[in-house]
């Protein structure tokens, strides 16, 4: 709800007069509280600036700590100082104006050019260009030797960071600069693109300093009863103290040099008051050497006001807990612990149609009950034993009853890092015992979650608009396809794939009892077609999940899969069919039968497949990795084969028969070839295992159907670890000429450069162990680096493109209606539905 609409926000600088008008108090005492802990009048905590102590009243508006929003004060500086953030701009103005008549040194011809350029800028309302134009003008003007108006010869201006200016080698003080800037006529400023109404240059030389209200810089009372002031207050105290001393010294007629010193000190404090990270200025620090957080630091960066408090905010109506999996929930549901459901509330907007229901909630002493009632006038009352009847009696349409979370309420569920929009989805509540959030096993993928202690957040949308949006646009069942590539983001994983394999592999038969039991778990009370042997084939059981008119052909990892009229005729449902390697089946079912069907389907699929695994039992044991004599021989053969080839390359390099690859030197050629050759050892071992192992080996079975692990795990367990890599090459550093001190210098043996020939099952030799650790360390280090680099790229991308949206003519527009694409993607098709065969 928007009461008032802000159309635009204009930025200007404050003139001394404006500051005085804004100010409610001129501050004169460089102190905060007196001995009694009471704010000093005219001090920095003056009660006219607002109050933060609960007992006191604001002397300007009469409000208390909570109701008074604070008022500005001001300090009159005895000597003007330069606003450090504008120093560069002041310098540019000095360069482009005459040192005598102070007019902008634009010659007639140049002035006409600039006028034209400005006109165009104003036409396009592109104020950013003004800045560039101004920079260009200054570049031209600063080279001028003579003022075109009064003919005065110009001397060199110099600017030294942070706030020192020189004319012809001599210092010019802020008061002189102010006189100079004051003299620049308004028309001249307009002619170079500066708006004198927004900023008169002399305003940038501060003679009056605005003091923010007390609320902006509250003091904290420590446990010991001591008061600790805000960094800004500290800085302001120091400014006032120096200001006072300067004023006394001037009155006492102190020598100029002392006054100048103090003046410079005042300038330093004002500079750090605005920005404590100004280049060329020593950082102002606490006694604990912690740098002070002054105005610029408050706004800046990730923890600054803009990004930490305005772009993102803390919220109410949210909960966080550990997640665990539950195979009996649908992907659309989330299990919410009773403890959380009884604390979180959802507003019930009372109308004449639901007033009775609302009353029931208020009267209910136990869950589900109403916790608060908010009357039309906005007064919130807690529902208690005693006031229950009164609240019911006075309840009328327009009131809001806040009731506890119940089954089927819509909530948002989120896991950080929130990398894409599927990281926040809307689920239906299912209140459960226990203390963790429960989600369907398959719902973890879009969140990139697992159940090893991950925590997730839950938010309860409070308005009907928010709830409607969540229901229609954010439910997992509607978000089956990813906007990134149009493929399903919910699919079977791990145990489910294993279970489906057992069911569909063809020679699995269940007795009538078993089949009936399995199907009854998913709410199907019919039996499938009986096989010839009087039993029920797994394929016919799984077929019960498909609609009767469903036809499908596709390929799994091994061969074709055919479903005809809702019956699985041929093929195994493996991870290429229904899992992470390409869930074409799920995609097809979703496209043809819709969200509600797919929600049920995934639930049934999970239940059925898990039941099948329970039934058969599945475990990976030591036996699966046992190294047989045959394997040892094969390993030795592979090592010998690879090492022979490697040695041949080395020999070729030594007797110069090895030719360099294009673009490489011979030495580089040798190292690349060696690395490639030695890495091949694992592939050869993989081929061997693929040939000799069969599905009686559970580890191999799981890898081959894509349920868990890969053939690489088996290779590294029972064959060899293979060539290790550090920074994409063979390990080479450590000691001079060798990787570990246990090798000879310049050893040509591949094993001396990270070719690990032992396996996990038999254990690594000490040198192998260290070489393996080098590779592992390298990949761990790179991983942490990638997240930082990619995170920043991501932020830049989002910031650049977040304003783009689809306009009503399917064109892509930016925030200023600028045309990015005439038709989105060239065809106006949503990437979510690229795999859908549309009717068009």
């Amino acid at each position: 709800m928007q009461a008032e609409i802000i159309d635009n926000i204009k930025f200007t600088t404050l003139s001394p007069d404006t500051i005085k008008k804004m100010s409610v108090a001129k501050l004169i005492v460089a102190d905060t509280y007196n001995e009694d802990g009471y704010p000093i009048d005219g001090g920095l905590m003056d009660q006219r600036l607002g109050v933060i102590d609960p007992g006191l009243k604001c002397k300007t508006c009469g409000g208390r700590a909570k109701s008074c929003m604070g008022h500005f004060g001001h300090i009159e500086l005895v000597r003007p100082v330069i606003h450090p953030e504008f120093a560069r701009f002041i310098y540019m103005l000095l360069q482009s104006t005459c040192e005598k008549c102070n007019r902008v040194m634009l010659s007639k011809e140049l002035a006409d050019d600039v006028k034209l350029a400005l006109k165009e800028i104003n036409l396009n309302a592109d104020e950013q260009k003004e800045e560039l134009l101004f920079n260009d003008i200054v570049k031209k003007l600063k080279t001028l030797k003579k003022c075109p108006y009064c003919g005065t010869e110009q001397h060199k201006r110099k600017f030294e960071r942070p706030t020192f200016f020189y004319l012809n080698g001599e210092t010019i003080k802020p008061d002189t600069i102010r006189d100079w800037l004051e003299n620049i006529p308004d028309e001249d400023l307009i002619s170079i693109g500066i708006d004198p109404k927004a900023t008169r240059p002399e305003w940038l030389i501060l003679s009056v300093l605005l003091v923010p209200p007390v609320n902006v810089r509250p003091s904290i009372t420590l446990e010991s009863g001591e008061r600790s002031e805000d960094d800004l207050t500290h800085k302001l105290v120091e400014i006032m103290r120096i200001n006072e001393r300067l004023s006394q010294d001037i009155d006492a007629g102190a020598p100029q040099i002392i006054i100048d010193d103090l003046w410079e000190l005042l300038q330093y404090h004002v500079t750090t008051y605005f920005n404590n990270e100004t280049p060329g200025v020593p950082v102002a620090r606490h006694r604990s050497t912690k740098p002070l957080k002054t105005l610029a630091q408050r706004l800046k960066g990730k923890e600054g006001r803009l990004r930490y408090n305005l772009s993102g905010k803390r919220v109410n109506f949210s909960a966080r807990s550990v997640i665990s999996s539950d195979a009996s929930l649908t992907i659309n549901q989330v299990g919410v612990p009773m403890k959380i459901a009884s604390v979180m509330t959802i507003p019930l907007y009372v109308t004449k149609w639901n007033i009775e229901a609302a009353k029931k909630f208020i009267m209910n002493p136990d869950y589900p009950k109403a916790l608060n009632v908010i009357s039309k006038s906005g007064i919130r009352k807690r529902v208690t034993e005693t006031n229950r009847e009164d609240l019911v009696a006075s309840l009328e349409p327009g009131d809001i009853v806040e009731r506890q979370l119940m089954d089927n309420d819509i909530v948002l569920f989120n896991r950080q890092p929130t990398l894409h929009r599927l990281s926040i989805m809307a689920h239906r509540v299912k209140v459960m015992p226990g203390k963790t959030f429960r989600i369907q096993v398959s719902a973890a993928y879009p969140y990139n979650a697992d159940y090893d202690g991950d925590e997730m957040n839950l938010h309860v949308p409070q308005t009907l608009e928010a709830q409607a949006e969540a229901i229609y646009m954010m439910q997992p069942k509607n978000l089956m396809l990813s906007a990134r590539h149009g493929q399903p983001v919910f699919y079977a994983e791990e145990d489910e794939i294993a279970g489906l394999y057992f069911i569909t592999k063809g020679d699995t038969y269940y007795t009538k009892d078993e089949a009936a039991l399995m199907l009854s778990y998913i709410g199907i009370f019919d039996l499938p077609e009986e096989s010839e042997n009087g039993l029920y084939n797994g394929k016919s059981i799984i077929s019960m999940l498909f609609p009767k008119d469903f036809n499908f052909t596709g390929n799994n990892l091994k061969g074709p899969v055919v479903i005809k009229n809702g019956k699985l005729i041929e093929g195994i449902l493996d991870s290429k069919m229904i899992g992470e390697k390409g869930s074409t089946l799920i995609s097809k079912l979703f496209i043809d039968y819709g969200p509600d069907f797919i929600e049920r389907f995934i639930l049934n699929l999970t239940k059925l497949s898990l039941r099948a695994v329970y039934k058969r039992g599945l475990t990976v044991s030591v036996k699966d990795y046992l190294v047989t004599n045959e394997m040892i021989n094969e390993r030795e053969r592979i090592i010998k084969e690879v090492e022979d080839k490697a040695n041949k390359i080395i020999e070729g390099y030594n007797d110069r028969t090895l030719d360099a690859l294009p673009g490489y030197t011979r030495k580089q050629t040798m190292t690349t070839l060696l690395f490639a050759q030695l890495s091949e050892a694992r592939d050869i071992a993989g081929k061997y295992l693929n040939k000799t192992m069969n599905t009686t080996n559970n580890a191999f079975l799981l890898a081959s159907i894509g349920a868990r692990g890969s053939i690489m795990n088996v290779i590294q367990m029972s064959m060899l670890l293979g060539q290790q890599s550090v920074r994409g090459k063979r390990p080479s550093r450590g000691y001079s000429g060798r990787v570990l001190p246990y090798f000879r210098k310049n050893d040509k043996d591949p094993r001396a450069k990270g070719f690990v020939t032992s396996c996990f099952f038999e254990g690594l030799t000490p040198t192998d162990f260290f070489e393996h650790a080098m590779g592992a360390r390298d990949s761990a280090a790179t991983k942490s680096l990638v997240t930082a680099v990619s995170g920043y790229m991501y932020r830049r991308l989002v910031n650049a493109m977040m304003d783009f949206y689809i306009s009503d003519d399917k064109s892509v527009r930016g925030s200023g209606m600028e045309l990015i694409q005439p038709i989105y993607g060239g065809d106006g098709v949503d990437p979510m539905y690229v795999n859908v065969e549309s009717d068009k």
Partner: protein, 352 residues
Amino acid sequence: MAAKKENEISIKNVDVQYGEPVGVVAAQSMGEPSTQMVLRTFHSAGIATTISSGLPRVIELVDARKKQASPTMIVPLDPKIKKNYDAVKKLAKKFQEVRIKDVILKHIENLKESKLELVLSKSKMEDNMLTEDQIIEKLTKKFSGISIEKKSNHLIISQKKAKDIHSTRIAFVHIMDFQLSGIKGINKAVIMQNDDESFYIFTSGSNISEAMQLEGVLSESIYSTDPFDVLKSYGVEAARNAIAYELKNTMQHEGVKVDFRHMGLIADSMTLTGTIIGVGRHGLAGTKASVFARAAYEETVKHFVNASIFGESDPLKGVSENVLIGKQIHVGTGLVKLAIKKEDLKKIKAEE
């Protein structure tokens, strides 16, 4: 049974919806999988150079870096010569940049007498189809202040006017670096074969404008991985495609599936102004109309200060600034407004 309504086809409309925040979706589609990409540039044996890939390549493209780590060109050839290996080989030689230092065996610098002695290599010269006389001619044409003496396969170069050691040395370095033939910036040209047995030239380094002038090159269809080079020779539309396809290739190489529309949108927004701008602080994100959006992104104080000098006003049209001030954003469901007919409103009021 399972399906509620059999034969129901749920997705009929595949069109992108009004208000869809396609920019954010595109950014997310690139950003989310980028955490899974490798940081290292790949060395693929067989091809002329290291080809940068993975995350660094994506960042390089999206940032619109003027100096690319490893630009390459694929140069298709005229049908007349593309099956003739010798002709192609001859052409490839014309690509490869040859400098003085590439045709000598060794060189002796005598700074005292400001003399540079070059020992030319016959085989290297032949390799690059150069003769001594050609080299001398080219050198004298380029460097006016030198005299060249020829002694068998030695070239003795001396400065006509004696200069101090420092400038002599610099002059010698320039001479050693002098380009005799080939195209500037191309340090390798390799002949590659298509499936149909025709040849094409693959180069490391990119310079379309000069490559298209060589005879036998299909000048209108050179592919370059350097968008700026494409921009210079083929214009901004081609540059847009270059960015989009390079992004696509990089993502594909990493095995990450991203729809082309997302990459197309990124490329389109980068080439919006008629030239290539990056997405960062000096590009798209840093030149937004809104002061708040820029301030919230990077260099907060600078943007506020400049805005006040020029009296800028924030039109509050974009997403970032409306989030900041707490208004509804102008994309997605925030874009639509609810309207009700006056008579309907009266009806409702009357009912109450």
